[in-house]
């Protein structure tokens, strides 16, 4: 799989703005996804994830004073038709024409693109265990989602936009989807995956962008993001913890007899470790922050000023 022009980001927005009435849904969003990457797109409800995707799909138009957006080097509003031949999208809340069957819907969506890989279509139907002869109005949410997933995965799109694609699926079906994500990645195609399931993102994504109030508050690889937060340290000490609690970079310090537990800034890790060594260590665990902690740390505190300028 080759993209049309090298050096072109699969997705690039700079200072993307979209206002609905007085509500700033997107307030200067920067988002970059390199070709061949699987990019996670995180944020709580109402942060602007779906609005971003709707702008990227040309369903709604960015504000007049918005910065530029481009997908595969094309303008999502002006070149929508050209662009949609090369991308596939799965919404989180899939509405489908009620009087069509699932099979008809998949074929119809495929034929709008020109062609559909019949072999892959049938394989997907089998893997996702979908009965294509039932009418869309009788499908559950999960089954409607499967219809949209199969229609998207059976295409030869270069870029996939997934908006919480597994929110109605059971864990088995989720695993099937994750398997196809791996195949997409192997083929060098690009994915933007908006999700609430952090484990899924942690497992599959190369980079993560966290958005809040219409701005990207963090962006980078998972490894880079972990540097931004604190490690969790639990230790059993040979002596009294003494002045440990007062050290710069130590937070939430709890001591219980010879056991201590605290959070530690990455920048202070070295000084804190030598202090611990001086006291004497019997046992020690140092856990890097999980994506969940990372995520929660961004959402339980108020938005920092000049968000999006995180030191990476």
């Amino acid at each position: 799989m080759t993209t049309s022009t090298d050096n072109t980001e699969a997705i690039r927005t700079e200072g993307l703005r979209k206002t609905f009435g007085k509500v700033k849904a997107l307030d200067g969003l920067d988002l970059t996804v390199e070709p061949g990457q699987i990019a996670g797109f995180l944020g709580p409800n109402g942060a602007g994830k779906s609005t971003t995707i709707r702008v990227l799909l040309g369903l709604i138009r960015a504000d007049a004073d918005s910065g530029p957006a481009s997908l595969l080097g094309l303008d999502p509003w002006l070149d929508a038709v050209e662009l949609h031949k090369r991308l596939a999208y799965v919404p989180g809340d899939v509405s489908l024409w009620p009087n069509l069957t699932g099979g008809e819907t998949i074929d119809y969506l495929g034929s709008l693109r020109g062609k559909i890989n019949q072999k892959l279509r049938d394989e997907l139907l089998e893997r996702f265990e979908l009965d294509p002869t039932r009418h869309n109005r009788t499908y559950s949410k999960g089954n409607r989602q499967k219809v949209a997933l199969i229609a998207a995965l059976a295409t030869d799109a270069e870029l996939f936009l997934f908006d919480e694609p597994t929110s109605g699926l059971d864990p088995l079906m989720e695993a099937v989807f994750t398997g196809y994500l791996a195949e997409i990645k192997q083929a060098g195609r690009t994915v933007l995956l908006s999700s609430h399931i952090l484990a899924e993102v942690e497992k599959t994504c190369d980079t993560v962008t966290i958005i809040r109030d219409g701005q990207a508050v963090e962006t980078g690889t998972l490894a880079e993001l972990r540097h931004l937060t604190r490690n969790r340290i639990e230790a059993k000490l040979r002596g009294p913890s003494g002045s440990l609690a007062g050290l710069v970079g130590v937070h939430d310090f709890v001591a219980d007899a010879d056991r201590v537990s605290f959070a530690c800034d990455n920048s202070s890790l070295e000084t804190v470790m030598s202090a611990l060594t001086r006291i004497g260590i019997e046992s020690l665990t140092c856990s890097p922050p999980s994506l969940e902690e990372l995520f929660l740390s961004h959402y339980t505190t108020p938005a920092p000023e000049g968000a999006g300028q995180g030191e990476v």
Partner: protein, 545 residues
Amino acid sequence: MATRASTRELAGFRKLVVGIVRRNRLRLVIWLVAVPGVTLPSLGAYGTVFGTETGAKGRALIMATPTGTIFGGPGYGLDNYTMGAMVANELLIWLNVTIALAAILLMVHLTRHEEDTGRLELVGAAAVGRAAPLTAALTVVAGEVILISLALGFGMMAYPELAKVDCLALGLAVAATGLTFTGVGAVMAQLAWTGRAAAGLSCAVLGVAYALRAVGDTLAVQGGSGWASWLSPLGWAAQGRIWVNLRWWPLLLGVACGAALTVLALILAGRRDQGAAILPEIHGPARADKALKQPSSLVWRRIQASFLAWSFGVVAVGAAMGPAMGSLADYVRDNPAMMEFFGLDKSDGIDPIAEAFSGMVVLYLAVIMGAFGITAMNQMHSDELTGLVARSLEQPVSRDKLLGANELTVALSTLLGMGLGGVAYYGAVVSNRELDPGVAPAVAEAVLRSFPGLVATVALASFLVAVLPRLTALSWPFLAYPAVHQLLSTASDWPAWTRLAAPLSAASLTPGTPFDWRASIGLFAVAALLISAAHQRFRERDLLA
């Protein structure tokens, strides 16, 4: 033991009724206030507008036509057309259609819809008898129907012209129809797979009931046998001859029918699993037909069922109008008021009368298909709200192509339906030996004359969907205007330009009148302007959802 089992079946009944009323109080109050609230004040019009003797006579003449029979009733009391006779002959049928729709929609909403959304499962898991939810829903809807009927019956007593006993009879007639369709809704909720299908099947029953009554009454008015009306709950109400020569027993037929259907629904409910249906789920093709690969073919799939229903209606009306025309022409010639209504002179022969009447029929056919065109175009608006328009635009489909596919498919199917209705009416005219064969070609021409107006109607609907999506209902007054214009313009001497206010009245549809090519070209020009404005805006604006 048996009594214990049956009390268990109904366990929780009272709590369920209270819960249903509480959760649906707004819905229940709206029907209860709206139906009497719209009906009762407007009754005054029958007293004032048609209260004079000549007014009542002219009205009776109109109601004696097949159109009057189809849209009103069998015409009891036309020879002495009192206010009561008018209400029973013209209004009762629409009260009955309204109460039937209310009963169907409420019943399906409280039963099958609750099942579809899984809420009934929560209820069923509680200490609730198996028959209790359906019985509770039946009780609430029947109670609502009876309350609305009482409000209507007692409300009408405020008019001194209306005999009080007959007011009660009218309330009973409405209640009987409502109870019958409560039963229909309850039975269909057991038969169908989804709430939508249950509502659709129930409305189909209502449509058949209407058609049976229309055919039966039309035949009866012409001196034939009206047995078809006796197969219809809507016919029973009219046969009560309220305010003319009241008889109660036809009204009781509806009550009995409602009771029988209720028992049937309870038996069916006891025989099926929750969430299951008596009718089998209809599976469809696993692969799309080759034809289904364009937005236009998808639009056709979306509107197909509605097209079949509306064009069936237009064909039925067209065919029903033909047979009466010969005797109608004689009838009109003998009535100066009717001659004046159609703007005719005594010296005119049979053809001008047939032509004038045909103009009215063709207009009604066009209004019916115009209604189809508007609902079909508005489907795109509701599809936009539910995200289905987005589903197409996410694919390599331009906005122009999608909107154009809707406009083209809707316009062509509207014209096709009008053509079918026209052919049915043409056939009925041709086969009527009392008429001069020369009338038929003029009728065919009149059908074609309606095409520019229908295209403009669809264009207007498209304009609203694209430019003023919150005001799509604005199409309806434009559609209704020509009928109002035709009824009132001759009598009240409206200036000629007033016919230009709506697409279907702009060009005369009356056979034999000169073809107004300027109006027809004007309509196409307006349609082109509306469509280009629609495309311009739809290219620029955000999707609603």
